[in-house]
Amino acid sequence: MTTDDVVLAPRRRPGTPLTWVRGGGLSALVFALPLLVIFGVFSWLPIVRAVVMSFQKTNLITTSWVGLQNFQNVFADPLLPVATRNTLWFALLALVFGYPIPLVAAVLMREVRRAKGLYSALAYLPVVVPPVVAVLLWKFFYDPRPEGVFNTILGWVGVPPQPWLQSMTMAMPSLVLEATWAAAGGTVVIYLAALTAVPPELYDAAEVDGAGVWRKVWHVLVPQLRGVLFITLILQVIGTAQVFLEPYLFTGGGPANATVTILLLIYRYAFGNSLGGNYGEATALSLLLAVFLAVMSLVYFRLTRRWSTS
């Protein structure tokens, strides 16, 4: 029992290995082990390696230092601006498609009196579909022939067949449409949760002031949602900056590089050449993206901290 009386506040006294063990040092180490091993091998080490590798050229057999060469090569790659533009375009479209509609839906759903659960269950259903299944299914929907699923439906209302993924201009919006289908339910549920938490006193106060439904929504609800709206915005930017599945499975980056995203480019650098990966350039580009994302997440954490204490 004597070994155990330091559970809560480890003694700060210096001592022999024996006092260290008696002071709970050993048991602490046992609990530290999984974290140390797993983070050490699969997180800290790879992070350090990423930084080191971005200054190296390696084919896994021989490795040499190349200074900033990898970064220079990345910046010289004509695909980098294309991929950056595409990624930003994806992010923007994802915001346009996936940001306001779930909000409207959530505000409406909040007011539903009967079968509330049905609404949120319906909205959330696509989210539980495995993403790969969703992409493969939609890929078939996007069949560009007049007999394609979407083109058949368009035909009913007299719209001519669309090329969908087979057009440089339509490919990206098509990707985003599917991504929105797959993700919007999650956003709706987040908004719903936030709406539930609006303090009822605020409505009462507004009603005392004689506010109608619209004014309550606009002046009470929306301001209360400001925090969560901003958070979902940043999360969406962070998420879309790493988009991979859709372009990889839908189009492989085509047509004519119209859907090459940054992560797809990194993947191609590292794994796309049959004669061996260009790991240095891949990590160099990853680091550049990481810096951008780290800034975004810093903003995110600052804001969540601010909102949580307000």
Binding site: D4, V41, R110, V132, I231, G239, L289, S308
Partner: protein
């Protein structure tokens, strides 16, 4: 939660929140337990207004509000059915439609009969059953490794607090700011040739399970939960002669079921959705989960059979969702803080 069944404060509720202020479970965020307490207070003090929303009862009495809201609700329901369920119904239809009909007249209703054989071919020839089992095994292992690291790590950082805890915590937190992308290549090379052991984890479930454990988010989540457990209980246990292991196993873990539930849901969902990492690590088709296998057979599989395979792979998550709907939606409410 509905107005008809207000949840008493004692009912286990979502641990973290659904309030904007509670979403973050990040360093510096408001302690989870406090938020919970506040919420519980709120719920008990205003049971009748628990479900108060922008449109009040008196608003509902006004015909214009009633009519426009009622219409938009119906419209919303129709849209939700068409937009969210429509594609899945189509998938179900294609799963039993002969390939030629799928390709020529996808929207016609079974012009040439139903091809139940698609399903059996998908199950037997495409071996969806096997890949499904792999998916489950992967999720279970990833879940275990995340729970293990998060609980032991959280316990260490929150309760045991050895001298190096601060450094460790900083090192864990720092990884929150490193997006998964950066790790892709170096982590792959690490898994190819693990330090010390110098073996390759490629083509082994361990290659997916172990890296999954390195989730700083989970550690922080659990740690903050532990931070808010009442210290008096620990003290009492200590007086009763409980050591650090017993305290962990018999006191802390049982008290942490809510947070373990949250971490579990995140772990399983993330594993279910993962594509790129298992694609790189699990090259052997016998080990691949559905997410990796389906795209690789897409080009060589008959459309009808492929659709059947897709439908089968979707069915089980959907059934799980319908059964555990509440848990899923609750988890998603928290999702705001995790996606990144």
């Amino acid at each position: 939660m509905t107005t008809t069944s207000p949840i008493p404060p004692t009912t286990p509720r979502p641990v973290l929140g659904t309030v904007p202020g509670e979403v973050p479970v990040i360093p510096g965020a408001e302690p989870v337990g406090a938020a919970r307490a506040r919420r519980a207070r709120k719920a008990s003090s205003s049971d009748t207004t628990d479900d108060r929303s922008a449109v009040s009862v008196s608003d509902w009495r006004r015909p214009s509000v009633r009519w426009s809201l009622g219409t938009s609700h119906w419209l919303l329901l129709v849209l939700l059915v068409v937009w969210c369920v429509g594609p899945l119904l189509l998938l179900a239809k294609f799963a039993v439609t002969p390939t030629q009909d799928i390709l020529r007249t996808p929207m016609a209703i079974f012009p040439n009969g139903i091809a139940w054989s698609n399903l059996s071919e998908a199950w037997n020839d495409v071996q969806v059953s096997k890949y499904f089992a792999n998916t489950i095994v992967l999720a279970a292992g990833a879940w275990f490794s995340q729970i293990l690291v998060a609980t032991t790590g959280g316990y260490l950082l929150s309760v045991l607090r050895p001298r190096y805890a601060r450094v460790l915590q900083g090192a864990v937190l720092a990884t929150l700011f490193v997006p998964a992308v950066v790790l892709l290549v170096p982590l792959y090379l690490t898994v190819l040739d693990t330090p010390v052991f110098h073996t390759s984890l490629v083509n082994s479930f361990w290659g997916v399970w172990l890296p999954a454990g390195a989730s700083a988010f989970n550690v922080v989540l659990v740690q903050r939960f532990f931070d808010n457990l009442p210290r008096e209980v620990f003290e009492a246990a200590r007086v009763d002669g409980a050591g650090p292991y017993r305290l962990f196993w018999s006191i802390v873990l049982p008290m942490s079921k809510p947070i373990l539930g949250v971490v579990s849901i995140f772990a399983v969902i993330a594993s279910w959705k993962d594509f790129l990492w298992p694609l790189l690590v699990l090259r052997n088709p016998d080990l691949q989960p559905l997410s990796v296998r389906l795209p690789s057979i897409e080009a060589t599989t008959d459309k009808g059979v492929l659709m059947a395979a897709l439908a089968i792979s979707t069915l089980i998550p959907i059934v799980l969702f319908l059964v555990f709907q509440r848990m899923f939606l609750r988890g998603a409410g928290l999702g705001g803080a995790v996606k990144g």
